[in-house]
């Protein structure tokens, strides 16, 4: 799936102008980075409210397919800069983690 298709389907704001094919093997929802590190897997979509630069470090480490920041949280400039450098798509949603997760489930991602 193209990252912008995902953004369109979930009504997300794309914070990075990159065109990328993303693989989606699953979804992980979590805000405590140490737990996310041990539980999320490669090619997962990660839904979180965390926005600081450590998020990009965890995403890179795990090979996360993309990050969805929920609850309309403001994402720091250095986080976006790092996302650009690493080529990891990052989106923003006004909805809650649960609402976004439900939409992904309805799209057939289990």
């Amino acid at each position: 799936m193209k990252n912008f298709e995902l953004a369109k389907k979930l009504d997300l704001e794309s914070l990075l102008e990159i065109d990328k094919d993303i693989k989606v093997e699953g979804v992980y929802v979590g805000d405590l980075l140490s737990v996310v590190m041990s539980k999320a897997k490669a090619d997962y979509i990660w839904i979180t409210i965390q926005t600081h630069i450590n998020v990009m470090a965890v995403a890179e480490l795990l090979d996360i397919s993309c990050i969805i920041v929920v609850e309309n949280m403001e994402v720091e400039a250095d986080t976006l800069q790092k996302a650009r450098e690493l080529g990891i798509p990052i989106f923003k949603s006004r909805e809650s983690a649960y609402q976004v997760a439900c939409k992904l489930n309805n799209m057939g991602i289990k």
């Binding site: 405590l32 980075l33 140490s34 409210i49 600081h52 630069i53 965890v58 949280m73």
Partner: protein, 181 residues
């Protein structure tokens, strides 16, 4: 809370409620020692031994209503999650010292957040009370004191929008400089 500055704001509000005349906040950010220590000291009413013993227990309430919010419980949890601690010293009629410690490079350590905005929110809520804010990064430090500001300002009130803008820029510039060295 997403940022340490939110914790600082919350604890400082306890000091305001405790009718402190002086609140002193010190953030010691040590890259060398891999630690962040936040100390909030006030000369407010202080807490009784009973309240102090239960202050970090989120289910503790006094017979009427809670005297303090959940802020200390949350700060305790946040610091302990980062191999740190929360220490509270308080004496009735003397004041309270809250000290929290974080392992700096812990992956769950929240970022400091916006210190200038936090200082401004605290300053805005002060009535007959002064604030001293110290920020230490290894060997360098920065201090801002509302007492000194008021002396310089004279007739001009600290809540004047030009003063507020100036404080914000002054704090941001000085704290950023501490990290450049």
């Amino acid at each position: 809370m997403k940022e340490l500055s939110m914790h600082i704001l919350d604890i400082a509000m306890n000091s305001v409620k405790a009718e402190a005349k002086l609140i002193e906040i010190t953030v010691e950010d040590s890259i060398k020692n891999n630690s962040i220590k936040i100390t909030i000291k006030d000369d407010g009413k202080g807490m009784s031994k009973e309240i102090l013993e239960n202050v970090a227990n989120p289910f503790y309430t006094t017979r009427t209503t809670r005297k303090v919010g959940l802020g200390l419980s949350m700060l305790k949890e946040a610091s302990e999650r980062c191999n740190g601690y929360l220490k509270i010293n308080s004496q009735l009629g003397v004041g309270t010292i809250v000290e929290s410690f974080f392992e700096r490079n812990n992956i769950d350590r929240a970022p400091l957040g916006n210190i200038a905005d936090t200082i401004l929110v605290i300053v805005n809520s002060l009535k007959n009370c002064n604030l001293i804010y110290n920020h230490v990064v290894d060997d360098n430090s920065f201090t801002i004191s509302t007492q000194q500001l008021k002396e310089i300002l004279g007739e001009v009130v600290i809540s004047d929008s030009n003063v507020v803008m100036w404080i914000k820029e002054y704090v941001n510039e000085n704290i950023n400089d501490l990290y450049k060295n």
